[in-house]
């Protein structure tokens, strides 16, 4: 049964370590949906979140391979249902006068935030689960979407097993 698994990797915040980790995912031919990387609360450490469309065993094998990479301090796999997963999207939509109000209704419905409102269009910020963001993007398809930037999903395992990233 193929499902969405999150693989969360704590690694040194150097490009070479990131390249190694991502290169490994490519070389092992793992089914990646999205990648997101950013800093953590610990200086010098980044967190790479890899969303995989796979069973949990495949994700756990990815963890075993990733843990062998020098510079990776730890990795964990969990089904997204067991964790907290969010993604951010920025959407640029053309907003002709005749449907402006309708567009704002859709944005409001999805708790979107208007970041920029110029003559021709809007930039909207959306966040939520991947499914939520996709649903919102579908709703916006009724208008003219010009560009989309999505962050890729970031995720943390639930707080049942608290293990500090510091000291890794």
């Amino acid at each position: 049964m193929s499902d969405a698994q999150a693989v969360s990797v704590l690694l040194e915040d150097r490009l070479i370590t990131l390249t190694r980790a991502v290169g490994l995912i490519r070389r092992r031919n793992l089914p990646v949906r999205s990648l997101a990387i950013g800093p953590t609360a610990t200086p010098g450490l980044s967190r790479l979140t890899i969303m995989m469309q796979s069973d949990i065993e495949t994700a756990e094998r990815a963890v075993q391979h990733l843990e062998k990479v020098i510079g990776v301090r730890g990795a964990i796999a969990f089904p997204t249902l067991d964790g907290v997963a969010r993604e951010l999207a920025l959407v640029k939509v053309r907003s002709p006068h005749h449907c402006y109000a309708e567009l704002l209704d859709v944005i409001q419905l999805y708790n979107g935030v208007v970041l920029d409102d110029s003559n021709d269009g809007l930039i909207i910020e959306l966040s939520g689960s991947e499914a939520f963001v996709l649903s919102c993007l579908r709703a916006l398809d009724a208008f003219e979407v010009v560009e989309v930037a999505r962050s890729g999903t970031i995720a943390l395992g639930t707080a049942n097993n608290l293990q500090s990233e510091a000291g890794r």
Binding site: I16, E57, R61, Q64, H65, E67, K68, I70
Partner: protein, 567 residues
């Protein structure tokens, strides 16, 4: 006490601290500061190869024979890229190699400078680790880390890329760091990672199995687990199969030794696997050449998998009990739980599977005769380094290996051209012991330029060329699976006796069995490198053979088999 030295001097001192005594390399622009420093360190013997690929293979051979990391050195750009095949070979077979490459000066990097390549990027998937050294102060620790990573846990190649200006940069040398290891993080390090209950479960499976087999892989050789493996086998009577890289991990004359499994494994070995109810896999990765079609592999068998690298357990075959750790350490923990038993009925059953070998050789000068003569001439004390192809399978199956780690070959990557340069490394790691590099006429011509290295450095490798005028293994596949269309497989060879003469070494051609003994005796007595060419039957095949994608139950056993023409 801290001294100020150049990066190159620090590098040399750090190599000496790691116990390095020989380097295989080739100079060039971006590594010249290192070569400038090298003569100040007579403890570092440099072997000038004729192609950087040979440096990597020689370092690999040195590592496999000595158990310590082998070191190769190359310049940036083409020098570095020429190492790639050798590093990939070492990576697939888990051997510790440290490669040092020059890089263009830091200010030039990223600007497509002369002889610049991103060797870190190129070698990333084929090294265990690699590191660009960006400052002289990193060198000491980087060398320490490189040897630690290369040698500890599941071994593998490590590459250090050092810009030319960093080699010239002056920095501080402290020394003594090799003794101050901090035990860096390496998840493949041999910390046994299993519950005691898993050991007990393994012992229970071993006690209860009716048709158990031990499958010994490279991990047995790497861990030196020969006595432990022997105790396990003798206490339980369980027959032992040795994979291509596990060969010589268990004495072949032992009554419990069965042979090699897989694509060219003996019929009775593969049949035993298919009939078994328990496979005890020791330090192997259940490679496709061993298992054949996974769906049809040992369907009735539970698997106990002892392996240093946890990511190998369950990768290819489902495992009942996985024991992560060094094979020797795991066996030492397991053996006290193992009670004596026997497998007499099962062994009788396997004996019934043995087929009289379909002698594929019609000519007298058979691989068996050649290998027996080589074995006899050295009283079984020689190390055999084989290349890749038909002769590799004959050498694996027919040579009578008695001494641990006396068979060295490129298994995982299957690198033609490996034997001759790797044998140079083996010969330097085992001075005074005979080393035979056995190649086909194809593989030999890939790296025969290294004869010059042997002559210049006085490396006494005995080279055997099995000459059948074909790229024999590919021709065999063409015969069976491509309708006998021998496309690009006939291969011309130079006159090897004259070639030997041109290099100033002894050369013999053996065309018939009556010339065999004299030629081998002559080669054995030769103190320096020597070349012996064996004119073997042209279209002999390696039998049995599992067709690619087939299961171990479907061997092709001889010429009479129906050729399968691929679609």
């Amino acid at each position: 006490m801290t001294e100020t030295l150049t990066g190159s001097q620090i590098l040399c001192r750090a190599l000496l601290e790691e116990g390095v005594d020989v380097l295989f390399g080739y100079p060039g622009g971006a590594i010249m500061p290192f070569y400038h420093a090298l003569p100040e360190f007579p403890g570092l013997r440099h072997v000038l190869v004729r192609h950087e690929q040979a440096a990597a293979h020689a370092a690999d051979g040195y590592a496999r024979a000595s158990g310590r990391a082998g070191v190769c050195v190359a310049t940036s750009g083409p020098g570095a890229t020429n190492l790639v095949t050798g590093l990939a070979t070492a990576n697939m077979d888990s051997t510790p190699v440290v490669a040092i490459t020059g890089q263009v000066a830091r200010a030039m990097m990223g600007r497509d400078a002369f002889q610049e390549t991103d060797i870190i990027g190129i070698t990333q998937p084929i090294t265990k680790h690699s590191r660009l050294i960006e400052d002289v102060e990193e060198i000491e620790d980087a060398v320490r880390e490189a040897f630690q990573v290369a040698q500890e846990g599941r071994p593998g190649p490590v590459l250090l890329d050092i810009p030319k200006d960093v080699q010239n940069q002056r920095g501080s040398w402290t020394g003594g760091r090799a003794d101050r290891r901090t035990g860096g993080k390496d998840s493949t390090t041999a910390v046994p990672a299993y519950r005691p209950a898993a050991l007990e479960e393994a012992a229970r499976l071993i006690a209860e199995a009716e048709r158990p087999l031990i499958m010994a892989g490279h991990g047995v050789v790497l861990a030196g687990a020969y006595p432990e493996l022997r105790v396990l086998a003798e206490r339980t009577g369980i027959p032992v199969i040795t994979t291509l890289l596990g060969i010589s991990g268990f004495p072949e004359s032992h009554p419990l030794h069965l042979g090699m499994p897989g694509m060219h494994g003996e019929v009775h070995v593969n049949r035993a696997i298919q009939q078994s109810d328990l496979i005890i896999g020791l330090g192997l990765r259940f490679d496709d050449r061993v298992t054949g079609n996974l769906a049809g592999f040992a369907r009735g068998a539970k698997v106990i998998h002892v392996e240093l690298d946890s990511s190998e357990i369950g990768k290819n075959v489902p495992v009942a009990v996985g024991l992560v750790g060094d094979v020797r350490e795991v066996l030492c923990s397991l053996l006290p739980l193992i009670s004596p038993r026997n497998c007499d009925a099962w062994r009788r059953e396997i004996a019934g599977f043995v087929r009289p070998r379909d002698e594929s050789f019609r000519a007298d000068l058979s691989p068996q005769a050649i290998l027996d003569a080589i074995s006899d001439a050295s009283d079984g004390r020689c190390t055999i380094v084989s290349d890749v192809g038909q002769h590799q399978m004959w050498v694996a199956k027919l040579f009578r290996y008695q001494r641990p780690n006396s068979h060295i070959t490129s298994g995982g990557l299957g690198t033609m051209g490996f034997a001759v340069p790797a044998a140079m490394g083996v010969a330097l790691a085992r001075p005074g012991l005979p080393v035979w590099a056995i190649s086909g006429d194809g593989g030999f011509q890939m790296n025969m330029q290294e004869i010059a290295t042997m002559v210049q450095e006085g490396i006494p490798v005995k080279m055997a060329v099995f000459n059948n005028g074909y790229l024999g293994m590919v021709r065999q596949w063409q015969q069976f699976f491509h309708g006998k269309r021998y496309s690009a497989t006939p291969i011309w060879s130079p006159n090897y006796v004259k070639l030997a003469e041109a290099y100033g070494i002894a050369g013999h051609r053996v065309e018939s069995i009556d010339q065999l003994e004299g030629a081998i005796a002559g080669a054995a007595a030769e103190p320096g490198p020597v070349l012996v060419e064996f004119m073997i039957e042209q279209e002999a095949n390696v039998f049995p053979m599992i067709p690619p994608g087939g299961s171990l139950s479907e061997p092709i056993e001889g010429e009479a088999a129906t050729p399968l023409v691929s679609a």
